[in-house]
């Protein structure tokens, strides 16, 4: 239980810093530490993301960084994609889904490295 809390804390800090909801750490944490199946971990991660992203977004909004209209548009228009994505995930076996997630983590790691190396003047506060 203490490990779950620590995962939450760490994922929150990183999510706030890098602009992700923390799911990329929640899911492996829930599988490796809490022993959930890949499907359960992904589903549980999604629920855990909601308060994290909400507080993060409100906080960023105070700094004037959130473009509300675009955020709302993306959020609402995501519904169809979400429904298909969830159905697809549930159609896959745990092993396939887990390996796909491991690949995703490697891809995101690569993305972060590329971003870090190319970050320049675009990173100035708005």
């Amino acid at each position: 239980m203490i490990w779950l809390i620590l995962i939450g804390l760490a994922a929150g800090v990183i999510g706030g810093l890098l602009g992700v909801g923390g799911g990329i750490l929640f899911v492996p944490g829930l599988v490796i530490v809490a022993g959930l199946t890949q499907h359960q971990a992904e589903a549980t991660s999604l629920l855990a993301i909601v308060p994290v992203a909400l507080v993060g977004a409100l906080n960023q909004d105070r700094y004037g960084n959130v473009r509300r209209r675009d955020a709302l548009r993306i959020g609402v228009l995501s519904l169809a994609g979400v429904a298909v994505g969830v159905a697809f995930a549930n159609a896959l076996s745990a092993t396939v889904l887990r390996d796909a997630f491991a690949v995703l983590m490697v891809v995101i790691a690569g993305q972060l490295v590329r971003r870090a190396l190319h970050t320049s003047t675009a990173d100035k506060p708005a």
Partner: protein, 111 residues
């Protein structure tokens, strides 16, 4: 529209918010700066993750108490994270986090 659909698919499939899709697309397609993209992505994720969690709930996969154990402390973490993001360069953090992701991916694949 395309960003929302892509992010939704991604989020639903992998159980993540979709920020790793939204942030680069906002920067590449809509010319966002890093900070605005990050912030706007967080706001969009509130909707995306809520939709996806609700649908996963129908499948019976959501463990509500585990979600609270992880999610509630993460709120405190995210406050610290957003505070820090205004004050430091995230480059070093990105590289460290990339290393952590690689290690976790290996661990996950070996489970």
């Amino acid at each position: 529209m395309a960003i929302g659909t892509a992010a939704g698919l991604f989020s639903g499939l992998f159980g993540v918010g979709g920020g790793s899709v939204i942030v680069p697309l906002l920067i590449l397609w809509l010319g966002y700066g890093e900070r605005a993209a990050t912030a706007t992505s967080l706001a969009a994720i509130v909707f995306i993750a809520a939709f996806a969690a609700a649908i996963q709930g129908v499948y019976g996969n959501v463990h509500v108490s585990d979600a609270a154990l992880v999610g509630v402390p993460a709120v405190g973490g995210v406050l610290a994270g957003t505070w820090l993001a205004q004050r430091i360069h995230v480059r070093v953090i990105s590289l460290l986090f990339a290393a952590l992701l690689l290690a976790s991916a290996i661990e996950l694949a070996l489970q």
